[in-house]
Amino acid sequence: MLDNLLLFVQFPPLAVDVVVNGLLIGAIFALAAYGMALVWGVLNIVNVVQGELVVLGGYVTFLLVQWGMPPLIGVPVSALVMFGVGWVLYRAIVFRVVDRDIFISILATFGLAILIQQLANLSFGADVRSVDAGLGPLHFLDGMVTVAWVKLIAFVLALVAGASLWFFLRHARLGQAIRATAQNPRAARILGIDTGRVYAATYALNAALCGAAGSLAVMAWTIHPYMGLPYTVRSFMVVVVAGVGNVGAVVAAGLGLGALENVAGFVLGTEFQIAFVFALMVTILVWRHLRAARRREHLK
């Protein structure tokens, strides 16, 4: 473990390589985290099925490539397909838990997560899947820092998606309706907003963001059926740190998490990378709690 840390000092370009690749992967976390922040802020539920939506998005792209489509088409197609999946999930299950105790919604979405995991396992098998985007790597600093093109594209796309989400929430009719519903559902209903539709659209939008994230994840990284929960926890962590209503902070926290996670994976060994993600989440919660407790408050 210390050897790996020393390696960074002796050979700084390696550290740059690990951090840069982490930052780029972090864009995918940020994308899934926007979605979670949106659902959390508007529907007031913690969507534990988030990671499974990401994984499903990845499988959509995987299937497309199997059928001979170019991989990058997968990003919009996955987003579109997952938009539909999100709408159906909302209309079938999620709307029943929106107004209930928050624990019920956590447990219900957790059940959905297990259901989707198992269905994915049955349909696609437990193998680790990945798609070669066929774009090759990019070299910097005399080839000492290597970045895959697709990661760079993922990064840019995630930023574009974040910016357009911000613009959509500000200026589009539906975006304004979403924000109004988040602020006060009752008042929104009185003013003629169909809040049920807004909730469904929000949830579907979240699923679309997850679908795009999953599509990028399958190109830049790998997916398999049981990989959902780490994505859920990453999104949760990012939202806890960044807050619900702040797109910029979500991007920053997502990128930071990606870099931190990649460094930890390198230093501790990749077998402990997931352990690091979950331990970091617990640490962040405890730290936030201690800070709040000093002011005689508690996390809400």
């Binding site: 913690v46 534990v48 299950i93 029943r96 838990v97 209930r100 105790d101 928050i102 624990f103 019920i104 956590i106 447990l107 219900a108 957790f110 059940g111 959905l112 997560a113 297990i114 259901l115 989707i116 995991q117 198992q118 269905l119 396992n121 049955l122 929960l229 926890v233 949760f236 806890v240 060994g269 077998e271 402990f272 997931i274 352990a275 979950f278 331990a279 989440m281 617990v282 919660l285 405890v286 709690h289 407790a293 508690h298 996390l299 809400k300």
Partner: protein, 318 residues
């Protein structure tokens, strides 16, 4: 009709628990797992039902029990039963220590933050165990062979788990009648008020978690030996199966009632065994669906449903 008291039901259950292994030896493994499920549901309900702290991480203590027993039995060089006893004791100490440590850190956190935080705790433990060579890393650990004759092993662990379940039930039944039990309910109903009335809520919460940890670790050591093999993610820290089931069983039976978790464990275990028999290949899908259905459509549980029915009937009669 004379009123059914707790003691009548307990008597029937005790006779069933002692007699069934002899009457139906084929079911003995299922029965052992049933007692394990009863322990799971009872200990989860102490926090989730009585105290209002919904933990997804109680599996941590079960896993600690599994691994403590396995390591002691591997390394202590003692005969089987001595090593098992030492392993159970060490597991209990470690689990209670973990409950003290993590409880002090996490039990101040409320609501869904606590639920997700404990979920993270359980999965962290699984991932650490899966990467740690000393405890066999991802390939898990095998436990030593039971020294007795063929078939005795099943009897031994069935009765041991039964004993733990009975002790756990009686202890909790007594505990809920004491001031401590009332304090748990007060924390669930309104923690700020409980604080303001001078209850020392944090030590009470931590102590409750320690009790759960104690019973879970003992059952973990026994279950590990019964199964004969522990895998970090699928047996010891099996968050997606045991960890969710304990929540589900308590909810199915009725949160915060004495018999609810027991009833929930029995119903759930039978359902799950039927799934395994008749839906082979689809059983895990069916379980996921079952979770969603129970949580969304039946969150009050069986005991809650009975109470509602009774209230409605008495309301209509008067």
């Amino acid at each position: 009709m004379t009123k059914l008291s707790d003691w009548h039901i307990m008597g029937v259950l005790a006779i069933a628990g002692l007699g069934l292994p002899f009457l139906a030896p084929g079911l003995i493994t299922q029965l052992s797992f049933l007692w394990l499920m009863v322990i799971f549901a009872l200990t989860w309900d102490m926090l989730g039902g009585r105290m209002g702290y919904n933990s997804f991480g109680n599996i941590l203590f079960f896993g600690i029990g599994c691994y403590a027993a396995a390591v002691v039995q591997r390394d202590a060089g003692l005969p089987y039963f001595e090593a098992l006893a030492l392993g159970l004791a060490l597991g209990a100490v470690l689990a209670v220590a973990a409950a003290l440590l993590f409880g002090a850190a996490l039990l101040g956190i409320r609501g869904h933050y606590f639920a997700i935080g404990t979920l993270g705790l359980g999965i962290t433990a699984a991932e650490v165990a899966a990467g740690w060579d000393y405890v066999g890393a991802g390939s898990g650990m095998a436990l030593p062979l039971f020294p007795g004759a063929l078939g005795q092993r099943e009897f031994f662990f069935c009765f041991s788990l039964f004993a733990v379940a009975i002790v756990c039930f009686l202890f909790l039944r007594w505990l809920y009648g004491t001031r401590f039990g009332l304090a748990l309910n007060a924390i669930r109903d309104d923690q700020d008020k409980a604080d303001a009335m001078g209850l020392r809520t944090t030590p009470i919460k931590v102590f409750a978690w320690c009790i759960a940890a104690f019973f879970l670790s003992i059952s973990g050591g026994l279950a590990a030996n019964m199964i004969g093999f522990i895998d970090p993610r699928d047996v010891a820290f099996a968050g997606a199966t045991f960890g969710v089931w304990m929540v589900l069983m308590a909810i199915l039976g009725g949160k915060g009632t004495l018999w609810g978790p027991v009833l929930g464990a029995v119903v759930f275990h039978i359902t799950q065994e039927l799934f395994w028999t008749y839906l082979l290949g689809w059983q895990r899908v069916a379980l996921g669906l079952l979770i969603v259905v129970i949580v969304v459509f039946f969150p009050q549980g069986i005991m809650g449903w009975i109470a509602e029915r009774r209230a409605a009937r008495e309301g209509a009669a008067s």
